[in-house]
């Protein structure tokens, strides 16, 4: 280390020598000779300083003045709880800025005002002095209770006095001065205005900073702006509380004061916080105040200390001004603060612009500006104007939701008022609030906790427009009487808020229609082409199919976008299938005029297997006079194999032959059994022995028809009528087959069981519940539906979409028809002894099971009793 220091010294010496020796030759070689004797170093400096002052405004007193312009002391109050319960302990924390002292040396004089919780008005008899006494007593006393300890205040042995110098524990002290009421930069109180040296006789060392006013009030503060930012000389006087006339901070804290403050006279630090009693009472180092909250409590604090701005007296070093930081600035404009006599905020007394003893409400909710945020779903709501096309009204339900960004706000107790108006320019609403004819509300428009507004746009909203903008306005407040726009309540507290959001709503004049297709001769590779056939899942059809259109694998559907009023040149369509753009087919010739990028008709092949919900969507860019409007329409389809739902036919005319057999009486129908949930079973029926039952197969999708000629033929490959030929099903045909207990019902089967009277025709089957017949206890009836595709269909699928493997689709659906008879356990109304014995023997297994169940139940009882007897130590007691 020594070596390094030595090296540093050498380097420094060499550099110094180099600078000196090199500067002399430079001056000597300068063409303009400088007469050092004429100018002198002092003269050069003055010129340089003058130039600086002229050019940049720096003068010799800049440092002195700058020290006077430090930040004035301020204090803010925070609470550890913003919504406390009554009786709950709350801690107020004072955050100070602008003091030279450290926290430990500042005097914090707290006060807690009791106010009317509804209005914030101080209760009768409340004063600042009383509020200070209340708060500082709590600080010094802590949880000490003289009555509890039997304190009689006979002796005072604790010697806990504290002398409070002005400006904090390390303050500079105060003095009297004749410049009270004069700003400290006034020449009248300055001994040297240039150097800002104050007149010792004028100043008191205590100042009050004028922060200026928020709102200019010519009647009260004609020259207020000229006073802003300056410090007023004031008399030095602590803001400490007093008790029965006993002053604090005088170093004397006798028995009377101990008793008055209800402190322990024999303990110098009654509350045990490390600060002695009188120092506690003057607030030394008390930057926190904890008390038991009462509804309506307002809290404030005054902090005494030395500011960062300095003053200079003649012959003295600069020192810091003594100042008091207060919670707010007197302007009589901030209604959130409580005003009370003696709070240093009396405009007539020139208090405007200065700090004052504001009292802050603890319950921050009343002090908190509500801040709602709005959002809505769906993002592109539409009014459906296509009822004429689909007989369905699919207008979007718009939900506007409000969320409060504030913490500690219970939205369920906030009052909401919603209004919807029109807007054009996206800035301002116009016209009256929208109502019936324009908007159909699906929720309340106002009330407590109505944070969601739900509505459907109506046709009247649009007129001739394709798109309108709704201006949704929300007013929130804590009080119902404020609904209507006011944002202040009875306490003049700004607690309401207004928020708005603009929602574009389009008129959907576009609907998708789904068509079955057929194969016609065409220019495709296989010499055929798809052609749009009949509409499926549309108006006039099954209403259920309008929501989800059932289709089947390998089916090719045509989807057409129908636009009310027709399609204009310039309109564009973008198709999507399950969220992906629809790709054009390989063989464009198979779809004349369709499946290009801007067609209102597309052809879609369905996947071969699976059972899933899929979406077809089109985005329609409607061009009307150069104005483009995006309209979105979609349909859902469900891809499943065709299936036959078996239904029991009831009533007259439903059966094939029974009506004739029974002389026109209705058939004895198969009765659905009742399930555990008391609903009728769809697949288990009962019928009396010997009766005829009649079932129908309802094909789903219902736009498919049954090939009646093939119902009794199991294998379509090889037409019995034309040996060597296959039976080819049409595009909209399926093959229905019936099975009884697993056997295919064909002509041979019917002939083999003549007693069953089986008849198959169309979509129906009828047979007798023959108890002596082939199976005895009942029948399992299965309807099998087969969808075979023609070779042309398969070839065209291959050409168009390269779908090579076109399977036959098969689906079975079964029901069970049980023979209905009395329970084998039951006896007739008057059984004989013989019948009874026979029944008992027949029911022997039942009795056995009954006995086993009883035995198990008995074992459970024993188990419980054993456990209980052990629990109560029965045998010990016995």
């Amino acid at each position: 280390m020594k070596k390094i220091k030595k090296i540093k010294k050498i380097v420094f010496a060499v550099m110094l020598g180099f600078i000196i020796t090199q500067s002399i030759p430079v001056l000597a070689l300068t063409p303009i000779s400088i007469d050092v004797g004429d100018i002198g170093v002092g003269g050069l400096t003055d010129e340089f300083a003058e130039e600086l002052e002229n050019r940049y405004g720096y003068d010799r007193n800049i440092i002195r003045r700058s020290k006077k312009k430090a930040v004035a002391p301020t204090v803010e109050i925070h609470f550890d709880k913003t919504d406390p319960e009554e009786g709950e302990k709350v801690t107020a924390i004072a955050s100070v800025k602008g003091f030279k002292n450290v926290t430990e040396d500042l005097y914090y004089t707290w006060y807690v005002l009791r106010t009317d919780s509804a209005t914030g008005t101080p209760l009768a008899g409340e004063t600042i002095a009383g509020a200070k006494e209340r708060a500082m007593g709590i600080i010094a006393r802590g949880e000490y209770d003289p009555e509890l300890f039997g304190e009689t205040y006979a002796t005072d042995t604790d010697n806990d006095g504290f002398y409070a110098s002005y400006g904090g524990q390390d303050g500079v002290g105060a003095k009297e001065g004749d410049g009270v009421g004069i700003y400290d930069d006034d020449p009248a109180v300055l001994a040297d205005p240039d150097k800002q040296i104050v007149d010792t006789a004028a100043i008191t060392r205590c100042y009050r900073h004028n922060f200026g006013i928020k709102v200019y009030d010519p009647a009260d503060n004609a020259g207020a702006n000229t006073r802003a930012g300056r410090d007023l000389i004031i008399e030095c006087e602590h803001e400490f509380p007093s008790c029965s006339g006993h002053e604090l901070g005088d170093g004397s804290f006798g028995l009377a004061e101990e008793e008055c403050w209800r402190l322990d006279p024999n303990n110098p630090d009654t509350d045990g916080d490390g600060v002695e009693d009188e120092a506690d009472l003057v607030g030394l180092n008390q930057n926190q105040f904890t008390w038991k909250y009462l509804d309506g409590d307002h809290v404030g604090v005054i902090v005494e200390g030395m500011s960062l701005s300095q003053i200079v007296e003649p012959g003295l070093n600069a020192y810091h001004k003594i100042m008091w930081a207060m919670p707010d600035i007197c302007a009589r404009k901030d209604e959130s603060r409580t005003f009370i006599s003696g709070d240093h905020c009396s405009p007539g007394e020139g208090d405007v612009g200065f700090g004052y003893l504001a009292a802050v409400p603890v319950n921050s909710i009343s002090d908190q500006q509500l801040d709602p945020e709005l959002d809505y779903i769906p993002k592109n709501p539409q009014f459906d104007d296509t009822t004429a096309i689909l007989e369905e009204q699919r207008t979007d339900l718009v939900t506007v939701s409000s969320t409060m960004s504030n913490d500690n706000v219970d939205e369920d107790f906030i009052f909401y008022s919603w209004t919807i108006r029109r807007t054009d320019d996206h800035l301002e609403p116009f016209g009256p609030p929208l109502g019936a004819g324009d908007i159909e509300f699906e929720s309340f428009e106002q009330g407590m906790g109505v944070k969601h507004l739900k509505f459907k746009p109506m046709g009247g909203l649009f007129g001739g427009d394709d798109k309108v903008f709704l201006f949704v306005t929300l007013i929130v407040s804590e009080h119902p009487e404020l609904i209507g726009g006011s944002d202040v309540d009875a306490r003049n507290l700004p607690i309401g808020a207004i928020e708005s959001i603009i929602i574009p709503v389009a008129r959907k004049d576009l609907a998708l229609r789904i068509f079955n297709t057929t194969i016609v001769p065409g220019p495709g590779l296989s010499g055929n082409a798809w052609a749009q056939n009949v509409e499926i899942c549309g108006a006039g059809g099954n209403p259920l199919y309008r929501d989800v259109c059932p289709v089947f694998g390998y089916q090719v559907i045509a989807v057409e976008a129908n636009v009310l009023g027709g399609i204009n040149a310039g309109d564009r369509f973008a198709w999507q299938f399950n969220g992906r753009p629809v790709q054009p087919p390989f063989d464009l010739d198979a779809y004349p005029g369709a499946n290009n990028s801007n067609s209102n008709i597309i052809f879609l092949p369905m996947g071969g297997t699976g059972s899933s919900l899929q979406d077809i969507t089109v985005t329609y860019k409607k061009n009307r006079g150069g104005v483009l409007t995006d309209i979105i329409a979609g349909r859902k389809i469900s891809v499943n194999n065709p299936v036959a739902v078996i239904e029991a036919i009831t009533g007259p005319g439903g059966s094939l032959s029974v009506s004739a057999v029974n002389g026109g009486n209705p058939a004895t129908e198969a009765i659905p059994t009742i399930r555990w949930d008391q609903t009728e079973s769809l697949d288990i029926f009962e019928a009396d022995p010997g009766t005829q039952v009649n079932f129908r197969a309802r094909i789903v999708p219902d736009y498919l028809t049954i090939n009646a000629a093939a119902t009794l033929i199991e294998d379509l490959e090889g037409d019995p009528a034309n040996p060597g030929d296959d039976i080819i099903l049409a595009d909209n045909e399926v093959h229905l087959m019936w099975y009884l207990n697993g056997s295919f019902v064909d002509a041979d089967f019917i002939a083999d069981y003549p007693t069953m009277g089986i008849t198959v025709a169309g979509d129906e089957i009828e047979f007798t519940m023959d108890p002596e017949g082939m199976y005895g206890s009942g029948f399992d009836l299965t309807a099998r539906v087969e969808k075979k595709f023609s070779p042309d269909h398969a070839a065209l699928l291959d050409d168009a979409w390269k779908m090579l493997d076109t399977h036959t689709l098969t689906n079975d659906k079964s029901v069970t028809i049980r023979l209905h008879c009395d329970s084998p356990f039951a006896l007739g109304p008057n059984p004989t002894l013989r019948e009874y014995l026979a029944s008992s023997l027949a029911n022997a297994p039942h009795y056995l099971i009954f006995s086993i169940r009883l035995a198990v139940a008995m074992a459970l009882v024993w188990f419980v009793l054993f456990g209980f007897s052990y629990a109560i130590q029965l045998n010990k007691r016995l």
């Binding site: 039951a826 059984p831 002894l833 009882v861 419980v864 209980f868 029965l874």
Partner: protein, 223 residues
């Protein structure tokens, strides 16, 4: 056998719990009976009202079943008291049934309208099992267990009340008069079982009472 007053309520509690469990189970099984129910009732009575208390006496109380009046030996002196009780019982029933015309509230077996052979068969096969199991449970197990805590008179009244409660819960006697007409025979049967220290006597009497009522009603209904 001297019944000593026992202040220990543990046994009383166990019997009470057992009664509640058995009644709950009986209700459950009765509601699930699919046939005419006579055979099932016999099974149910045998398992729940006979085997269950038997087990409790032997393996939980660790006492003899004869202490619970399940014995053939009965006190001879009790016969006279029993006869007197029967006489009082007949008098009371005569007042109720004949004088107050409560005959229609009497409970009779449902098969009395059917085949006579079947009626006789059931009266001599299923009914004795049901009656004996019930007598053992109420007149032996319950009465004897309660007597220690509630006293003999209290136990006799309590067991009769429990019979009525059981019948009401299972749904046999929906009315007050039916309940009274059930309570009184059980009260006397309890007394007779106590004075004779045997449920055999009370079982025979109970069976005879049911048989008599069924036969009388069967006769009256067929006239």
């Amino acid at each position: 056998m001297l019944i000593v007053k026992d202040k220990n309520k543990a046994k009383f509690l166990i019997v009470l719990i057992e009664y509640v469990l058995i009644v709950l189970l009986a209700k459950f099984f009765v509601s699930n009976i699919k046939t005419d129910g006579v055979v099932e009732l016999a099974f149910l009575s045998f398992f729940l009202f006979f085997l269950t208390p038997l087990f409790t006496i032997r393996y939980i109380f660790r006492e003899k079943t004869s202490d619970y009046f399940l014995c053939l030996n009965f006190i001879k002196k009790g016969i006279l008291k029993g006869i007197l009780a029967i006489a009082v019982f007949v008098a009371v029933m005569w007042v109720l049934v004949v004088q107050l015309d409560w005959e229609k509230y009497m409970s009779v077996s449902k098969w009395i309208l059917g085949d006579k052979d079947l009626m006789i068969f059931l009266e001599i096969t299923a009914i004795p099992i049901i009656v004996f199991a019930k007598e053992f449970f109420f007149r032996g197990f319950v009465l004897r267990s309660f007597a220690g805590v509630a006293g003999v008179a209290g136990a006799i009244v309590l067991q009769a009340m429990l019979v009525v409660l059981c019948a009401i819960y299972i749904g046999v006697f929906p009315g007050v008069r039916q309940a009274i007409l059930l309570f009184i025979p059980n009260l006397f049967l309890g007394y007779i079982a106590y004075v004779n220290r045997s449920v055999i006597i009370s079982s025979f009497l109970s069976w005879g009472y049911i048989l008599l009522i069924d036969l009388v009603f069967a006769y009256k209904l067929t006239q």
